[in-house]
Symmetry: C2
Subunit: 145 residues, 2 copies
DNA sequence: GCCTAATAAATTGCATACAATTAAATTACA
DNA sequence: TGTAATTTAATTGTATGCAATTTATTAGGC
């Protein structure tokens, strides 16, 4: 493939990531709105269900988001009664995010979502795993993780 | 891999797309800002350099964006003197987007960007092509294209 | 101990995204 | 032919994203 060809939209890898990411989120949206969640709020909870009681900083490095995005998002999750935000007593610079009982309970209700999403498609678990691993390898090669 | 394991953030394919897309755009940002462009503006121009004189509708289906996003973005490109926006005389519902002379000239200046971006990494053309094709296949299987 | 550097969140400003609605134009069809 | 349905952009409202700045707190060097 020559240079000119590589510049076409359909040959650009970044655009493939961009488009696919958005289309996937579009499929998630109706399933998550059942629980009053956006996709970003959902992955924030996924991170907390794996490891609770972490700082905004740690959450941000996990989700590739900064405080400019997370602070208002976390305030919404707090207002919804799913998490608490408290300054770390031993270092007042840190804000510790913790799940509430309601936030923990939501996990069981939401855990079917990805299975429901893929269930209606031609995509197999092997497809998912293989592609995910290749993206991880790519990100390492790009020096972005 | 069991169900519980699949729900972890690092095993979620959608999150891989989301994170990788954002990290790639972060690498593009400094290269594009040299030309006063954002990533979304850049792919809009990529689409127009391939096919000029198309409607907002067609541009949107190409970029997976709707008029809510495109209208203000196209107004900015128009204000920057890169495109024109005109109602189609034969069907006044359509708005035709056309590159200006300046918009066409920009192509030569910007065409090095992806090569500069990948040039500093461990990623080969073969890596890019292979991954891009797999994403395209995945999107077809998801029924999203 | 004091002052400077470094760190973590929050805030501000700008640019997307997208659902839902509105407005204008065209099409379909009774 | 006249009107309802459809189509295309634009608008409105809400939710990210992120760079740059600000504020508060802590760490480090002397």
């Amino acid at each position: 493939m020559d240079r000119r060809e590589l510049l076409k939209l359909d040959n650009q890898l970044c655009f493939a990531f961009y488009a696919c990411s958005k289309e996937m989120m579009k499929l998630y949206r109706p399933l998550l709105s059942e629980f009053g969640l956006t996709y970003t709020q959902y992955i924030t909870l996924l991170a907390l269900w794996e490891k609770d009681g972490i700082t905004v900083k740690e959450l941000g490095s996990r989700l590739f988001l900064d405080s400019g995005t997370l602070t208002p998002l976390l305030k919404k999750l707090e207002a919804a009664g799913l998490i608490t935000r408290n300054r770390d007593k031993s270092d007042e610079r840190n804000v510790i995010i913790e799940l509430t009982e309601q936030g923990r309970k939501l996990q069981q209700q939401v855990e079917e979502v990805p299975f429901n999403l893929y269930g209606k498609t031609q995509v197999s678990i092997e497809d998912i795993t293989s592609l995910r691993e290749q993206i991880a390898k790519f990100m390492r090669k790009m020096g972005t993780k």
